[in-house]
């Protein structure tokens, strides 16, 4: 009989298939989806994040763990919705206008999903107006802007300004990408900055004041 600890281990080790067999077993045995999420799955991703920070695991390990987590979320989501439990945070993410790079943005989206966020991915080359429209529709707690190039960084400034001008003063804006720095985040009025996908979850939580 599998235990919560087995589920946690399977996510840490990125064993997606194991996750798919363990969760139904645990639900069948009477575990609640909320307990599975809060006492096994989220702690598993926190453990992976910690190992990544300490150079004990590398990018591929982190990605396969996040994917196993995502699979697990699919299995418990119906039960969470039925119980009236919504994801703690909704996030919108996109690569800013003029920039076509999606790898970093996709990694952050994967990590945020792995942390239990609902993530709406707007894709690449996203104009400021599209971010504003998506914020109106989805009412996210956080917006992630990505840019890989020094030449497309100014689009971040335009996008932040458009979001603020549209009256969304409280939505937290997090930026990231190869040339991005904390000082640039400060300069353009973003709420935070993540150096890489591994730190994007912590950065989002810190910005939201969440544990």
């Amino acid at each position: 009989m599998s235990t919560r600890e087995d589920l946690k281990t399977a996510i840490i080790n990125g064993k997606r298939k194991d996750v798919k067999t363990i969760i139904p077993e645990l639900l069948e045995a009477g575990e609640t989806p909320v307990d599975l999420l809060e006492k096994a799955m989220i702690p598993a991703m926190s453990a992976v994040g910690e190992k990544f920070k300490n150079n004990e695991v590398f990018v591929p390990e982190m990605l396969v763990s996040a994917r196993a987590m995502k699979e697990g979320m699919k299995l418990i989501e119906p039960a969470l919705i039925e119980a009236g439990i919504k994801p703690k945070h909704t996030a919108i993410i996109g690569t800013v206008e003029g920039d076509l790079h999606d790898i970093g943005k996709n990694l952050v989206a994967t990590m945020w999903k792995g942390a239990g966020f609902e993530v709406i991915d707007l894709g690449v080359n996203v104009p400021p107006a599209q971010f504003v429209d998506a914020i109106k529709t989805h009412q996210p707690a956080i917006v992630g802007l990505s840019a890989l190039l020094t030449t497309t960084m100014p689009s971040m400034k335009t996008t932040v300004a458009a979001i603020r001008e549209a009256g969304f003063d409280t939505v937290k804006i997090l930026i990231g990408g190869a040339p991005i720095t904390q000082s640039y985040a400060d300069e353009i009025g973003a709420d935070g900055y993540a150096q890489d996908a591994g730190s994007a979850v912590d950065a989002a939580k810190a910005t939201l004041g969440a544990a």
Partner: protein, 307 residues
């Protein structure tokens, strides 16, 4: 397969603020520091020297600061080497200014303008500089223009060929022949390659090499990108293994650190065989979601790290 013997040309990448030694030289505007980096790379077998003084995550640099330094640093580099410089910046103003201080007569070959891409604002002005100063030119072909003028990231080898052909035609109109064009198809880090990017790069090299309209072009990648995110002890072996596969596909230039990663591993080296196997896992099966194959490639990569 392109097995004909092409000489591998190394564009030394150490004069770039991503490297600590370059940052130190930049911060102090230390001409000796740049001369040492130039000399070191020349002695290590580089054929060209990248010159990139743009900012990084930890070091903000303005265009004005760059322009101010060019009149002193370009002649200083040329004092210690006759290697051609590869000027690396997205802004045409940088190239215009840098070339004012570059003495072509002290240089053993054509300098390089790095780079043209569909996302650049001043492609026409950059091509004019290439013509006026008798330069070679790097074309970033990882992005292309669709029929309705939209810019897209290349997803297939054909997209990369399309971007390369677009620039080859533009350059031909200015009298710049294919043998002066170095096409960079883009190389992503294998550590986060869940979408077939490394296979796309190799496929594109093969497709570029066999395209009749692109006969005579050169092909380059930024090799150090490949191993970002890999455990330290695997970085150089992975880069050298990839280089071996890329040369086999038709690569003849690399942007790399000439001290470390410019020697391909023999094609029968176990690391080359393992990398081939990892990349084979990344090929989607019939009707398979490409992401599924991408994660299979990651699994195989982790096994390689564990072996």
């Amino acid at each position: 397969m392109n097995t004909e013997n092409r000489q591998l040309h190394v564009i030394g990448e150490l004069m770039n603020n991503s490297y600590g030694r370059a940052r130190k030289a930049w911060k102090a505007r230390d001409l000796d520091g740049y001369q040492n980096l130039a000399r070191l790379q020349a002695e290590s077998g580089a054929s060209f020297l990248t010159f990139n003084i743009d900012g990084t995550r930890t070091l903000p640099v303005t265009l004005a600061e760059m322009l101010e330094f060019l009149p002193r640093v370009i002649p200083a580099i040329q004092e210690v080497t006759d290697l051609p410089i590869s000027f690396d910046n997205p802004d045409v103003a940088f190239h215009t200014e840098a070339l004012k201080y570059f003495d072509r007569s002290r240089c053993r070959g054509r300098p390089i303008l790095n780079s043209l891409s569909v996302t650049r604002a001043d492609v026409r002005a950059m091509i004019d500089l290439v013509g006026e100063h008798d330069m070679d030119v790097i074309v970033m072909a990882s992005e292309y223009q669709t029929a309705d003028g939209e810019h897209q990231a290349a997803k297939r080898a054909g997209d990369i060929v399309k971007a390369a052909r677009h620039f080859a035609e533009l350059l031909d109109c200015s009298g710049i022949s294919n043998d002066r064009i170095i096409v960079d198809p883009g190389l992503c880090p294998i550590a986060s390659d869940t979408c077939g990017g490394v296979n796309l790069c190799l496929d594109a090299i093969r497709a570029l090499r066999t395209d009749y309209a692109l006969e005579g072009i050169h092909i380059s990648v930024g090799l150090s990108n490949f191993s970002i995110g890999a455990p330290g002890e695997f970085r150089i072996p992975l880069e050298r293994a990839f280089l071996s596969l890329a040369i086999e596909a038709g690569l003849d230039y690399i942007l790399a650190n000439p001290e470390k990663n410019t020697e391909p591993l023999p094609t029968n080296d176990p690391m080359v065989t393992k990398l081939r196997e990892v990349l084979a896992e990344g090929r989607p099966l019939a009707d398979e979601d490409p992401e599924e194959a991408g994660y299979r490639q990651l699994d195989a990569l982790m096994e390689l790290y564990g072996s």
